[in-house]
């Protein structure tokens, strides 16, 4: 069997374009809570764009340039909006019990995204090369050392942490976001709890 053919057939079957980018959704998808996810994604895009500018000019630029400091401020506030909307999205999905109907893996991918985001933000704080980084690194080292990982994940090693922050962790986040969105699209939007249109629906039986 041709591997390329198999991969193409799988992709066409699993990710049909009309599901990936649907232009029609069920009428119950009608609430402000559905904006939290897309606002989180928009914040991520803002973080990536401002991060790219900061990376192009190097880690010391923003300390000595007014424009650099402004770009850093954009990056800083985008972190705040990213987490603000992500936490709202997370609680909204919790109170909608969005894991129902075979969507539990998507809940798990969302929690993993939250954890990787925390790690990414943490490495960002460590990469600032200012007093905040110095304090966070020296306070945080004891926690990582106590857990036995401080030698491998050395938060005082700027080269290691900066590399993780600007390359590996954003790539991991982007891949996880892609997987998360793929699951949303392939499983469809979760139906309302006690849905009058689905008489047998029940949160206890359809995980």
């Amino acid at each position: 069997m041709n591997w390329t053919t198999r991969l193409r057939r799988w992709l066409v079957r699993e990710i049909p374009m009309e599901d990936l980018l649907p232009d029609r959704l069920p009428e119950y998808v009608h609430s402000y809570v559905y904006f939290f996810g897309v606002l989180t994604l928009a914040s991520f895009l803002t973080l990536v764009l401002s991060g790219i500018v900061l990376v192009i000019f190097g880690p010391t630029w923003w300390h000595i340039s007014a424009l650099g400091h402004f770009v850093n401020s954009v990056h800083f506030w985008a972190v705040q909006t990213f987490f603000f909307f992500m936490v709202l999205h997370l609680w909204a999905q919790f109170f909608m019990a969005a894991w129902r109907g075979g969507r539990a893996v998507n809940w798990v991918s969302g929690v993993v995204l939250f954890l990787v985001s925390i790690l990414t933000a943490f490495t960002g704080f460590l990469s600032q090369q200012n007093f905040d980084s110095q304090w966070v690194a020296l306070q945080g080292k004891d926690a990582f050392n106590a857990l036995g990982v401080g030698g491998f994940f050395n938060i005082l090693n700027f080269g290691q942490i900066y590399g993780l922050h600007i390359v590996l962790l954003p790539l991991l986040l982007a891949a996880l976001i892609g997987f998360h969105l793929y699951l949303v699209r392939s499983k469809g939007v979760v139906t309302p709890i006690d849905d009058p249109l689905a008489p047998n629906e029940g949160a206890h039986h359809d995980e």
């Binding site: 049909p16 919790f94 909608m96 539990a104 304090w135 020296l138 106590a146 036995g148 080269g159």
Partner: protein
């Protein structure tokens, strides 16, 4: 709509949606918001605390740091893994100690790295320092300890006059010469660079230089900014900026017993956060927890239009 979607949404009225336009609008809204916040509030950028600053403003504190590195009382000198075989900062819960199991992976001979080697590097410029270093290293450990104790006692009565640190005379052998040179090295601004020297031009790892001031000097500076652990420092930024508020649960643990009084607070907090995270991850499979949304009827608000339109018969 694909066949699969048709099956998923069977029985529901479908309405037009434009996800790409929604994302574009959301992006513009967020971009506008963060540009506004950046313009109005900027972002924090406090410069690092340097040995030069400490030497100029709190010279006795820097000398005490150096003396305690030599006598082994400094926290890093007696830290334990991953830096050395000390025991001062090794955390364990009963027989469980991942820190001890991981072993020494970032070896650091504190005496040599932080004090003796930086002094040796400049001793060629100062013959008196060279002789003092030679005398110190030729002395027995007991003799060294006696000099260190005498110097530390004298340092307790030191005064700063005209910008100079005056330490009363004591039976501390070569230490006054060594400590004055150490202070001068820091005042000149080259102490961290010397500690961090690795024999190569390129450097990206500042572990050693950062660890020098991790005790009293840094804690004093952070206390001035209300960034200490009991002040919820783990989730704060310098100044009035929002910090890592998403770490509220982790930070909370350090404010309450048994974490507050535990000899292994970080290990206990790490273990607790790991367990809570695992529970959070597995909510869809945990009876009771997964039923909370049904009992807290926020969903009635979220889908109120849908319920109003299709009242259950």
């Amino acid at each position: 709509m694909s066949e699969r979607s048709s099956r998923q949404y069977r029985g529901y009225r479908m309405v037009e949606a434009d996800l790409v336009k929604e994302l574009a609008v959301a992006f513009l809204v967020v971009l506008g918001l963060v540009l506004l916040l950046a313009l109005l509030f900027s972002s924090p950028d406090e410069p690092t605390l340097t040995a030069q600053q400490v030497a100029l403003t709190h010279p006795a504190e820097l000398e005490a740091t150096a003396i305690h590195i030599l006598d082994g009382k400094n926290a890093i000198a007696n830290y334990g893994p991953p830096y050395n075989h000390g025991t001062g900062s090794v955390q364990s819960l009963g027989p469980i100690s991942p820190q001890a199991w991981a072993g020494v992976t970032v070896p650091l001979d504190a005496k040599s790295v932080f004090v003796l080697t930086p002094l040796r590097r400049v001793s060629a410029l100062d013959p008196a320092l060279g002789q003092a270093l030679a005398a110190f290293q030729a002395a027995s450990p007991a003799q060294q300890a006696s000099w260190e104790n005498a110097y530390q006692s004298a340092l307790d009565h030191a005064r700063v006059v005209g910008g100079r640190l005056l330490v009363p005379a004591s039976a501390s052998g070569p230490l006054p010469v060594m400590m004055q040179a150490y202070l001068d090295l820091a005042r000149g601004g080259t102490l961290e660079a010397s500690i961090n020297l690795n024999g190569h031009v390129y450097q990206t790892d500042f572990t050693r230089a950062l660890l020098l001031l991790q005790g009293a000097p840094l804690t004093r500076t952070a206390a001035g900014q209300e960034l200490l652990g009991p002040e919820w420092g783990q989730m704060k930024e310098p100044g009035n900026y929002p910090g890592a508020v998403w770490l509220w649960f982790y930070t909370l643990l350090y404010q309450i017993p048994p974490f507050l009084t535990s000899p292994a607070p970080d290990l206990l907090a790490g273990a607790t956060v790991s367990v809570v995270t695992l529970i959070f991850l597995l909510i869809p499979w945990i009876p009771g927890l997964r039923d909370i949304p049904r009992k807290v009827p926020l969903y009635r608000l979220i889908w109120r239009d849908h319920y109003a339109r299709h009242k259950r018969k």
